[in-house]
Symmetry: C2
Subunit: 416 residues, 2 copies
């Protein structure tokens, strides 16, 4: 039986323990929601004041050149690239994940239209994060060209779904609810074998698990910087396009930032070469600048080291729940196999919503997701083994005492 | 002949003079580029630290509810509404101007497709800001339904361009280069008379001139908050949709923020009622929060008072250039008639680029725009009559001495 002392001993051996100093964590909180909104890097305040005082306040319009604002999407994209197996000038930080899905989808559809116009199906998963499905629906509704969406219910049905009518396969690398992870290389190979192009949503994967986009021969990827990458609330997202596809077509959100010579003010759109054509309009510089603080903190270690600790902590969480909460109706919905697990752990519980509110009330901040799911994000950058012990200890106490069974914990908020 | 003393006397009478205290302006700069990037409100630093420390740092994920992040697009949209003649819950702050053009264009096209599918032409102006034209081109290229763009070269050709094949008229209220302003009510009436829907780009109008969207019976409008509204570099844009059109169709950038119940995580997109369906993905909260600082500063006065001072200052600029620079080849390209003038003044000069660099070198920050255009943004919130005198005085000195004629002023930057 594991004890808290075992956890403290593991923390003393933890090579990544010092990274916690890179983040300003609130007192009396165990934060298990870094996969929804990452925490504040300690460097963010100084950077924010620099942007406000020097760059905006003093530099004003000159800062587009002198402070490098115009190059931020590409410069920060290059910093991110190494964390997701991308090369130089293959990624830009820009817009939102939803919008980047639209761009990737449009590009993938156009590539297929050129060589296989009969392919009119976009395959995804029923329990993919909904915005992915909504963007597909928006695209189909706009095109009015007979496209349809085919949703699979489990990975086993993937092969069957990939008929010769499929244009695009859009999957999340790590499922937002269950934490189940796809084998990106194997799934991409299967898709290619059936003539489909792949778009990977890395929202719960970037900074969470090792990702090898080029090594997997993926086609397109998008993701967000405000979860495991600690970029700040709603910080701009990213898009990666395999070099072989970058210059294939325009993407239709063809704003002036994607023009080859934006300041010529030409009437006709002429896309920039390479990844820059996936930019559209002027970016929110303050929010984007802080993305660098989170990236720099992550770049102090390696994805391999983070993965090792992430698996140790998610294993620990699962083991402690088994050891200490086994008499309660918690059903693990996250895969036990390491190769199929992201960096969060989720359980169903019939009163999941109230249990999560009771946890938050005790300072253990996780997430509730429909239906009945308690989701715990495990972020190795700033969590310790003792944090995991303490979180499960509070969970056990709440379940043993049924302290979740109060009206105040059952009241639904607009956003949870 | 006007003197600097006359300008100082006008400043002593200026009821808006105290508003300059709301902004942190650099020393030794006369900033005539507030129509490209507005200046830093003094309240922005404290607000930024509040978002970082309390809202992100301490509140973390809870701040989506407790700090009202989720409501920011609508709450700030309602603050902006009064400045552009919009009603409550008709505007949201979100995304970029380019993306909002795409949404408005898609909605307008769908409305026309339902009742007048033969209308396949989108009319705009050849010297509209290019991103407006590029977004039209991106949409046409995506739809592949035979749409075409018809560009007019002057307002007089508008009537002729509005044939019975026209679906949408997309114009900038104030031209980014010349400062020429359309009569929104008259042009909208003309468009409607010919069966076309209107999209107004208010980038150089919002906060600069009185705008009356509802009073003009306009259909759609978009614009940016980082120019006259002083929201910060790349701060999120806005979109307004006339209430009669809001629930007509989805817009195709149908991300989860536009869903009627985003946290149900339903598979099918179900658009929210009203303007909220024009939202797409998660917004950059830090950049968006600072939009409020600029709005609050503007809301301390009225658009009528700002307009009065703006016209006085642009008149003064034009008069002083005539009085003091008449022997130089400066050609005014901004209309002299008040009803046709926005809040900036532009001149052509054969060596416009070098002259502007020389001005910037002397602390008079304006903008250069192709071809040969010197552009001076006149922002009554923080400029004085003496500032205008001093700016023209330095311009005169540069022209008289030909000090612009140096290699260092002729070297082109990537971004100007």
């Amino acid at each position: 039986m594991l004890t808290r002392e075992d956890c403290l001993a593991a923390d003393r051996q933890d090579q990544l323990a010092a990274l916690r100093q890179q983040f300003a964590l609130p007192e009396n909180v165990i934060y298990l929601d870094g996969n929804s909104l990452g925490v504040l890097p300690t460097s963010a305040e100084a950077r924010s004041l620099q942007v406000l005082r020097q760059e905006w306040g003093e530099g004003l319009i000159r800062s587009w050149n002198t402070a490098g604002w115009f190059e931020l999407p590409r410069r920060l994209g290059n910093k991110l690239a190494g964390l997701i197996g991308a090369g130089s000038d293959e990624v830009v930080i820009t817009d939102t994940t939803s919008l980047n899905i639209f761009k990737a989808l449009a590009a993938a559809i156009r590539i297929q239209q050129a060589s296989a116009p009969q392919r009119k199906v976009i395959v995804s998963e029923r329990d993919n994060f909904p915005t992915d499905l909504y963007m597909i629906q928006g695209m189909m509704d706009l095109l009015q060209q007979g496209y349809e969406m085919r949703l699979i219910d489990d990975t086993l049905s993937l092969q069957q779904a990939l008929g010769d009518d499929v244009a695009v396969l859009l999957l999340s690398h790590v499922n937002y609810r269950t934490g189940a992870m796809h084998d990106m290389a194997a799934v991409t190979a299967l898709a290619h074998q059936h003539g489909a192009l792949t778009i990977w949503d890395l929202a719960h994967a970037a900074g969470a698990v090792p990702v090898d986009l080029n090594g997997s021969a993926a086609d397109f990827a998008v993701g967000c910087t405000y979860k495991y990458l600690n970029g700040g609330p709603g910080s701009p997202a990213f898009i990666w396009v395999a070099p072989r596809h970058q210059d294939a077509f325009w993407q239709p959100l063809s704003g002036w930032w994607g023009h080859s010579r934006p300041f010529d003010m030409a009437v006709d759109y002429q896309p920039a070469q390479g990844i820059r054509r996936f930019l559209c309009g002027t970016q929110p510089i303050l929010s984007m600048s802080l993305v660098e603080c989170g990236l720099d903190a992550t770049l102090q270690t390696s994805m391999a080291a983070l993965r090792q600790k992430s698996l140790a902590l998610t294993d620990l969480f699962i083991q402690l729940v088994e050891q200490r909460c086994s008499q309660h109706p918690l059903t693990l919905i996250t895969p036990r196999a390491h190769a199929q697990r992201g960096s969060h752990v989720s359980y169903r519980h019939p009163e999941g919503y109230a249990v999560m509110q009771a946890l938050i009330d005790r300072g253990v901040i996780g997430d509730y997701r429909e239906p009945e799911v308690l989701r715990f994000g495990i972020t190795p950058l700033y969590l310790s083994h003792a944090d995991i012990w303490d979180a499960v200890d509070i969970l056990r106490d709440i379940l043993d005492s049924a302290s979740w069974d109060q009206p105040r914990f059952k009241q639904r908020h607009a956003v949870t």
